[in-house]
């Protein structure tokens, strides 16, 4: 059974589980940029949270199924039709052979997730089917999908009970992104003034956004002289680095494992999925949290999500 991609869009990749425990070998975490949205899509189809799904960047995609199955869409909301009939996000939906699925461009947010019953069949590399583009591994030949590609799947259920994401769990990405952050190891590399303005001034996401990181434009941050280069040391998705030019970079799921720029802040675990929805030009506001506040936010967030999602999908 297969899905044919008739229009692949800007960057559509197969994503599955984040790769865990391999950063020590230099292997980035990879996996879905907005892991929460992907887990929610799979939840609607009774799939495991990391069943291989499509991560669609800035929409404009057309797909045709050759067999009956169920699908669900989450993440950046766009016009979405099945055979020209408008359909909704965050619902399990039945599709029939030859049904044509079209996605427009999202009004806000960056990435839409499309899950299929049972997940797409993709071989695992280094423990996951997730596509990691910089080294060309995982997914379909390690690359983004192209027009004409076909993906196979085997529906898990023939008669899925229709369901939708509970309203208190669903959060559609907006035009502005608020990220709660805690200070990181080199926070004090910022001048005393910049340690305040980094939270009062909003940033704008630069045009160059990829799954490795997001460069933020704004009044440049001042650094103490000589704080620019460090001996190569660990960074993680969510780390905010600040090179000497004073324009901070938020690291994403494909971020390198070590770096030499000062690590000034880190996005808290509960908000890291939002990094995947920042698009060029998005306004980004950083909100300071103490470590204790962050821990409390994470606990509350995990407890809330646990009412709907399995344990392994929480705080991803």
């Amino acid at each position: 059974m297969s899905l044919r991609i008739t229009r692949a869009g800007l960057q559509t990749t197969v994503q599955a589980a984040p790769r865990q425990g391999r950063r020590g070998q230099g292997m980035p975490t990879s996996g879905p940029a907005d892991a929460l949205s992907m887990a929610l899509a799979n939840r609607l189809l009774d799939n495991p949270p990391w069943a291989p799904s499509l991560e669609i960047t800035l929409g404009v995609v057309t797909l045709v199924f050759d067999q009956p199955t169920q699908i669900a869409l989450t993440g950046a909301v766009c016009d979405f039709t099945i055979n020209n009939q408008p359909r909704e996000f965050h619902r399990s939906l039945q599709v029939q052979p030859k049904d044509k699925i079209t996605l427009g461009a999202p009004r806000s947010g960056m990435r839409t997730y499309l899950a299929v019953s049972g997940g797409f069949h993709v071989a695992e590399t280094l423990g996951s089917a997730s596509t990691y583009l910089p080294a060309g591994l995982g997914g379909i030949e390690g690359r983004a999908l192209q027009d004409g590609d076909e993906l196979t799947f085997k529906p898990r259920h023939n008669d899925l009970v229709p369901c939708e994401t509970p309203p208190d769990i669903r959060r559609d990405p907006g035009a502005d992104v608020i990220l709660r952050v805690v200070p990181s190891v080199e926070f004090k590399a910022l001048s005393s003034r910049s340690r305040k303005t980094v939270f009062t001034n909003a940033f704008t996401a630069a045009r160059q956004i990829d799954r490795m990181g997001i460069r933020m434009k704004g009044p440049p941050l001042d650094m103490w002289p000589g704080s620019g280069q460090l001996a190569s040391s660990a960074v993680f998705p969510g780390t905010i680095q600040c090179p000497e030019g004073g324009e901070p970079i938020i690291l994403g799921p494909d971020a390198q494992t070590t770096g030499g720029y000062p690590r000034i802040l880190s996005v808290i675990a509960a908000d890291r999925h939002l990094i995947g929805q920042v698009r060029p030009g998005s306004t980004i506001q950083l909100i300071y949290q103490t470590l204790e506040q962050a821990e409390k936010t994470n606990r509350q967030r995990a407890a809330h999500l646990a009412t709907w999602l399995p344990q392994e999908a929480l705080l991803r």
Partner: protein
């Protein structure tokens, strides 16, 4: 060198800073044996760990790290890694920057090659990109700057130079180091549970193929 200290990277990751390279390698391999850590990442003078922020939490993570640090000898015995001889081809399509770099360093390409081959290297660190090896021991005469613009894609096995390190790209990846040659054997096996051949602490020699 400052005394080692435990610092906070985030609410779910901690950093042991102020280590010697030998201590960082020993501590990292010690910590990798524990199931408490989601990730253990060795740096040149540090080791970072990440953990589940709800199920493990910062204070027990801190205690675990402090204990591992306490047990760490000041001069840890170096783990006995096998030394490896890697067959390499210099210049031409395998080393597109050899000519230009030789010119910059005011030596013949043959001299650059001889100097690069004359020493043995230590794998100080695996990091940055998948399996990327930072090799120390470079002849200081070969010190080089990064390329002004990184290449979009380098073939697996490419050997570069940057600063006082030589670097080895085990798989096709983007890269900003000037490339002088290419190793002729596979340095990773995607089907293996332990896919990367090179490990921190190994000794490497380049031999002509």
């Amino acid at each position: 060198m400052a005394d080692p200290s435990i610092e906070t990277l985030a609410e779910d990751s901690l950093l042991v800073a102020g280590l010697t390279l030998g201590q960082a390698q020993a501590l990292a391999s010690e910590l990798e044996a524990s199931a408490a850590w989601s990730e253990v990442v060795q740096g040149l003078d540090s080791v970072a760990v990440s953990f589940d922020p709800v199920r493990i939490g910062r204070s027990s993570a801190h205690t675990g790290l402090a204990e591992a640090l306490q047990a760490l000898p000041e001069h840890p015995p170096t783990t006995d890694h096998p030394s490896l001889e890697l067959p390499i081809r210099y210049g031409g399509p395998d080393g597109p920057d050899l000519e230009r770099l030789s010119e910059q360093l005011a030596m013949e390409p043959a001299e650059l090659i001889a100097r690069h081959q004359s020493t043995s290297y230590k794998v100080d660190l695996i990091g940055f990109m998948p399996g990327f090896a930072y090799l120390s021991g470079l002849d200081p005469r070969l010190k080089a700057d990064r390329l002004p613009t990184p290449r979009y894609r380098l073939p697996a096995g490419s050997v570069g130079i940057s600063g006082l390190f030589s670097g080895l790209y085990p798989l096709d990846s983007p890269g900003g180091w000037p490339i002088i040659g290419r190793v002729q054997t596979a340095l990773w096996d995607p089907t293996s549970a332990d896919p990367f051949v090179l490990k921190a602490g190994m000794t490497i020699r380049f031999v002509s193929s």
